[in-house]
């Protein structure tokens, strides 16, 4: 065949073929609205010596909903680790009238500052088929170390909206798994698909100023530079609320949050599916 015709024909097909291939390329990250965590190269914030703190507690008014015990029988390896019924940790009212497992963090007021990523990892354990802790905070790009103290296989499946979704099995007796989240994102549910009741919440921030209320319902956020801050409390069922505080040099500011039981109780708060494949279209 004539060389010119041949070359033309090959090129005619090659161009669309290459276009098809290139169209298939593209990041695996879904299209995102928020920024990535600042690069490590930017100048990180250093304490000046005059930092203050914020303390407080999260109250709960009224009767919490009565929850049924979890059906641990579904996996005998889980059931045998508990001698008493295990209840969901979705709403836990402490004996002093406060609310447990509320994530409290600085929502705004730290603009312009870049915070170093801590070297030590944050640990998430699976004990008796329950995540410990139920709520944890972590910095973007900080290592999350996932360990299992159970002799049944789990899988750890966070359901983020801004970060890349991953889903990893951990066999009984397997070593720790390390993962991290690149972008700040509050309230990432974590699920085990093998033990469907298991739920934890990971909150990813770009700074270290956060706390989780325990069985006293109190929180303390230390080492804050002086300034005006918006503090946000997040509860997995009752949602978020904010308070503004002013932190003076070397002073501790106090604030309080109050959730009311007659607030709309929304079971299963996170309802939309994350964006599906190849970085396309947003979900509803």
């Amino acid at each position: 065949m004539n060389r010119v015709i041949f070359r033309t024909r090959v090129q005619a097909f090659a161009v669309p073929l290459i276009a098809v291939v290139l169209a298939g390329c593209g990041g695996s990250e879904p299209a995102k609205k928020t920024e990535e965590a600042p690069a490590a190269g930017a100048a990180t914030w250093k304490p000046a010596g005059n930092e203050g703190a914020v303390t407080g507690k999260v109250n709960f008014q009224g009767q919490p909903p009565k929850l049924k015990p979890l059906l641990m029988e579904a996996d005998p390896a889980c059931a045998k680790k508990h001698s008493t019924p295990v209840y969901p940790e979705a709403v836990v009212k402490n004996s002093n009238g406060t609310l447990r497992n509320v994530f409290v963090h600085v929502k705004s007021g730290l603009e312009g500052k870049t915070f170093a990523v801590p070297e030590e990892p944050v640990t998430l354990d699976q004990v008796g088929c329950v995540y410990k802790p139920h709520v944890l905070g972590i910095q973007a790009k900080q290592k999350l170390k996932i360990v299992s103290s159970d002799d049944t296989a789990h899988n750890i499946h966070p359901l983020p909206r801004e970060n890349r979704e991953w889903n990893v099995s951990q066999a009984a007796g397997a070593g720790p798994i390390e993962q991290s989240f690149n972008r700040p994102e509050v309230s990432i549910p974590v699920k085990c698909n093998q033990h469907a009741w298991m739920r934890a919440y990971i909150h990813v921030l770009d700074h270290p100023f956060y706390a989780v209320t325990g069985d006293e319902g109190s929180f303390e956020i230390k080492g804050l530079p002086p300034g005006k801050y918006e503090i946000e409390a997040v509860h997995e069922q009752y949602g978020a609320m904010t308070q503004t505080v002013e932190v003076a040099a070397n002073q501790t500011a106090a604030t309080e949050f109050t959730y009311k039981a007659k607030q709309a109780y929304v079971p299963g708060s996170f309802r939309t599916a994350p964006a599906l494949v190849i970085g396309c279209c947003s979900s509803k």
Partner: protein, 264 residues
């Protein structure tokens, strides 16, 4: 070489047939009533298949050795034999189609079997990676469910609507079920997320659970004991670990089991 190959082709069916006939590895012990006819069909199928397998290999092995090339002899210039071809075609057709018709007799019988009035009804909703069982409770009615009410972390695996009184006495378990012995059980299969398949080997029951469909299967257990429910349709990374425990017990034990579950 021809002899060695022929011997191999003769040994292969002999060894295989011995392993099958000897039932060295065989079906799990039968524990349901309709399963008997399935086992009979399996045996029939194996006998037909095995006979063809043995005969074909004996012929193949024999021909290789008997008709090996020797010197300057010529092969037989034989191109067709319409009567012979017709005969074996028709015979094969009768055998296979007959086997097909026979195989469908049991299948159709199972599919068309109607349930007695005292059938135990259970609803099974499969999810990644567990079996949710629901009993209708004393009122005999299943309460309304809505997927929007599902919250695994609170134990509401199938989204029972708290506003529907029929659902108040529904008993929900996960990976654990009980049925009375010698009583018909009808399981309605549903799926929450992807296609699963409800398989109880000792009962010879297997049926896909397809999202969007409600598919009935039935069985009558004939021996007490605890049986395993396995998933038989690839459903994700823990497909091999969807283990349900199905306990078959006396009628009295079953009633007290239902009462104890209702109290939870």
């Amino acid at each position: 070489m021809p002899l060695v190959l022929s011997i191999f082709l003769w040994l292969l069916p002999i060894v295989t047939a011995l392993l099958f006939v000897g039932r060295v590895w065989w079906t799990p012990d039968l524990a349901s009533i309709h399963g008997r006819s399935i086992d009979d069909q399996l045996a029939l199928a194996l006998i037909v298949a095995g006979t063809i397998f043995v005969l074909a290999h004996f012929a193949l092995g024999y021909f290789i050795w008997r008709y090996r090339a020797s010197g300057s002899e010529r092969a037989l210039y034989w191109r067709e034999h319409p009567k012979l071809e017709a005969a074996w075609t028709i015979a094969t057709a009768i055998l296979f189609i007959g086997l097909g018709i026979e195989g469908n007799r049991v299948w159709a019988g199972y599919a068309r079997e109607s349930m007695p009035s005292d059938v135990v009804r259970i609803e099974v909703t499969a999810q990644q990676f567990a079996w949710n069982f629901r009993y209708p409770g004393p009122d005999g009615r299943f309460g309304r469910t809505d997927p929007r009410l599902i919250d695994d972390s609170l134990g509401n695996y199938i989204g029972i609507d708290p506003d529907d009184s029929a659902g108040e006495d529904d008993i929900v378990t996960q990976n654990l079920a009980a049925v009375p012995v010698n009583r018909a059980v009808e399981v309605t299969l549903r799926a929450k997320d992807v296609t699963h398949s409800f398989f109880v080997p000792q009962f010879r029951v297997k049926q896909d659970a397809v999202p969007g469909l409600s598919i009935p299967v039935h069985f009558t257990a004939k021996a007490a004991g605890e049986y395993e429910v396995a998933c038989a349709e690839l459903c994700g990374m823990q497909h091999h670990k969807m283990r349900g425990r199905l306990q078959v017990m006396s009628e009295a034990e079953f009633q007290s089991w239902l009462r104890s579950r209702a109290a939870l």
